[in-house]
Symmetry: D3
Amino acid sequence: MIYVTKKVSFSASHRLFNPTWDNEKNEEIFDKCNNQNGHGHNYVLEVTVKGFPDPDTGYVFDLKKMKRIIEDHLLKFVDHKHLNHDVDFLSGIIPTAENMAVKFWEVLQEKFEPASLHKLKIWETENSMVEYFGDKVHIQLYDEQ
Amino acid sequence: MIYVTKKVSFSASHRLFNPTWDNEKNEEIFDKCNNQNGHGHNYVLEVTVKGFPDPDTGYVFDLKKMKRIIEDHLLKFVDHKHLNHDVDFLSGIIPTAENMAVKFWEVLQEKFEPASLHKLKIWETENSMVEYFGDKVHIQLYDEQ
Amino acid sequence: MIYVTKKVSFSASHRLFNPTWDNEKNEEIFDKCNNQNGHGHNYVLEVTVKGFPDPDTGYVFDLKKMKRIIEDHLLKFVDHKHLNHDVDFLSGIIPTAENMAVKFWEVLQEKFEPASLHKLKIWETENSMVEYFGDKVHIQLYDEQ
Amino acid sequence: MIYVTKKVSFSASHRLFNPTWDNEKNEEIFDKCNNQNGHGHNYVLEVTVKGFPDPDTGYVFDLKKMKRIIEDHLLKFVDHKHLNHDVDFLSGIIPTAENMAVKFWEVLQEKFEPASLHKLKIWETENSMVEYFGDKVHIQLYDEQ
Amino acid sequence: MIYVTKKVSFSASHRLFNPTWDNEKNEEIFDKCNNQNGHGHNYVLEVTVKGFPDPDTGYVFDLKKMKRIIEDHLLKFVDHKHLNHDVDFLSGIIPTAENMAVKFWEVLQEKFEPASLHKLKIWETENSMVEYFGDKVHIQLYDEQ
Amino acid sequence: MIYVTKKVSFSASHRLFNPTWDNEKNEEIFDKCNNQNGHGHNYVLEVTVKGFPDPDTGYVFDLKKMKRIIEDHLLKFVDHKHLNHDVDFLSGIIPTAENMAVKFWEVLQEKFEPASLHKLKIWETENSMVEYFGDKVHIQLYDEQ
């Protein structure tokens, strides 16, 4: 196996809050991330696929093609958007980086054959990062506010 | 003269639009930056002051103190905020990095004596940056929407 | 499982030498790292925990809380310190990044429940790094000099 | 086990093409990477070894020695070279980062005893990266053109 | 005045040699940069323009437009190319970063009105950089080899 | 004029204190930087020279030569050293980045002819930086402790 990674970035805003909690509780738990008008980040996303190099090309997966797939299926829906309001496939979730990783996986999972998706890494800031390998994870859905 | 720089960062959301224009014109000019629900960035701010080193300390300006001043007078008002709605000293301007630099200068200008503020550098993304040295610049004010 | 990482940094000095060896042997083995008055680094530490996102928050572990724990239990003891002389939990070890990782693990191991500590990554310079996953490793203790 | 990584870089040029294909097909598949006169990159290579810290030194493997080994056995052959023409151990392969990783592994594999080579990571640009752990992979050889 | 900078990158190969010198002299002066088959870099280019913010937009110059101009007039001619052979406006010069900066200036100079081009910064590697402000500089032309 | 910059780094320890002050005053002013056993940094130094490109080479100053000069005259004296005790040309000064820049300037000033030294930039951490252009600055000397 060889692992191939493409790094991309997008700029988006979000607000963290649990709609079943009152303001006080949201404030206590999410603190500054709960600002009512939201805040934003330059997210950095690293998509890793695994496979064997094609003898004809020496590529596990053509990185130019990989970038286009990530742009067409993911980035155009989240870049310069508000993650709580503008993105169908994030609808109803609390848009933490953890939950975003799980939802991004669903979007990208089948897109890199014959290679297979191995890992998603999301940097929310240059000091905060999550990694997800596609394990079964339960994501709570809430009615949108 | 010696120049001393402190680099800090903050996460905020904004929306670029001119309230005297209709949607179509705003869309044409500001494109994806005009998304109605806004978007966001991890802004990086470099504050540079100039002066002579104090013979007693070897400091032009103590960088630990400089960081606290930037946090107390600037960052606590913009970090994890929506720049169009939540920040008094940005009220009524179009929050481009250019306009933000001019307004940040007004906030920080007198705060580093006996050193003097020399430059503000704002990275909106890792590829887009503005620099401002305190020149007289006219900033248009609009009624807030 | 989802993996969540917080990156922090600290500035410290150290000296590498084995007190059971003479100067010549220390010089030969540790070379410039054996400078008698020590030298220093801006260490970068990445702490990774793993777990499942809490349905109420979407967090595996709140990264703001994680930063405070790392600061309170680790950084305040090593930041702006001499690692050979000033840090109780490093006492008697040769402060290589490898040995530091093992000792840092002991300090942080139980602090992130219900998540569990998964990995420590220490960059000594931007080109030299160690990773530790909590395996049983023997660390030699020496009488302090 | 503890994992120790040294990061180095080298500047080289290459051209991607399959000599059994005509120009049109090469153009279609490799696109701009197929430019006849080649193009180039500042490659970043991270070499990771694993092992247990030596009780006498606290080192899994001395990183100063590790750097010299990488320079003597690998970098001096690829730095400031054309990877299609100037490097014996890359002769006949399509010099994608995937294939380079497999060939670099053969060169470095036995060089870090008593530690063992664990991973090679090659960044071709700051957004494109491959990782290889030494798995058996078939690399197609072509007659050099 | 406010200064606005767009950072872009491109991957190219080049060879440094003076065609009026023999091999020995070229080897002595240009050393590894004189490798006959060339070598390459991921160049990073920062383009800085200066001007006053337009009251209608808050922009000195729209950075999205700036990126397109740099791509259309410069990057498409140098990205994934051999700088000695493939680029008309570099024909006959020794492609050092200094000379490239002067030639890039000629290409971009008039393209950002009403803002004006202020500085070009070229990083050849992450440790080697040149800056040019449009001063009159003589560039020697050689017959191409 | 064209400006050429070489970036290098070194790892050193230091302690900030004024020997004419008592512990309490040093503690108050220098805070954690006054730790008795010192602390350390990976300093990053950018050396910028200016001049015109030599028509024979296209170089303002050969960056390979520039690196060797910086290593031979500066880095070998400060890398892996204690700046308060081990460096002759820093003897008696408080080793702030400001004072270091002035002293480094004296060391490097005449070394790059026919180019001339233009700027020294020192990053003490990735968020704290000083720049010096060779202006006349008074540095207080103290008896060494």
